[in-house]
């Protein structure tokens, strides 16, 4: 995750409290998802960004996970997510994110 976005997330966590936040990703491929999850749960694994050593423990989801899709109104879901859900294989990402959430 780039440093600018890490800085924004750190500021939002300070403002709202990390327990009141959730991150929802839209990645097209599984590579990188684990690093995203680690960055906002345990801290920046590269130890270079604003979240280095900052354990926010914010739960991370993918927008195409069944539980997330279920809360989106059907009309919006069909218009905005249906095509993506056909071409993006969310299952490997769901497994990575589920494992990360279980560690919180």
């Amino acid at each position: 995750m780039n440093f600018e976005n890490q800085g924004v997330i750190k500021r939002l966590a300070d403002q709202y409290g990390p327990e009141n936040l959730a991150v929802v990703l839209g990645n097209g491929e599984a590579s990188g998802v684990e690093v995203f999850a680690e960055t906002v749960t345990e801290g920046d694994p590269s130890y270079a960004g604003p979240l280095a050593g900052v354990s926010l423990k914010i739960p991370v989801y993918h927008v195409l996970e069944e539980d997330v899709m279920a809360v989106v109104p059907e009309a919006i879901r069909e218009e905005k997510l249906q095509l993506s859900s056909l071409v993006i294989d969310v299952e490997p990402m769901r497994q990575v994110l589920q494992a990360a959430r279980e560690k919180l």
């Binding site: 995750m1 780039n2 976005n5 924004v8 997330i9 939002l12 709202y16 009141n20 936040l21 959730a22 991150v23 929802v24 990703l25 839209g26 990645n27 097209g28 491929e29 990188g32 995203f36 914010i58 989801y61 927008v63 195409l64 539980d67 997330v68 809360v71 989106v72 109104p73 919006i76 879901r77 905005k80 997510l81 993506s84 993006i88």
Partner: protein, 41 residues
């Protein structure tokens, strides 16, 4: 799960972009406090 949470939407250019995630979740009544689209090349 997401109930009552303030959402940070981090989309991807080659996946689901941030504004689309935000629109979907706002449609679900959630508050999106930050949305961005990252680009992995």
């Amino acid at each position: 799960m997401l109930n009552g949470k303030k959402v940070i939407a981090i989309g991807e250019r080659d996946g689901v972009p941030g504004p689309v995630i935000a629109e979907c979740l706002e449609g679900a009544g959630l508050e999106v406090v930050f949305q961005v689209t990252e680009c992995f090349v």
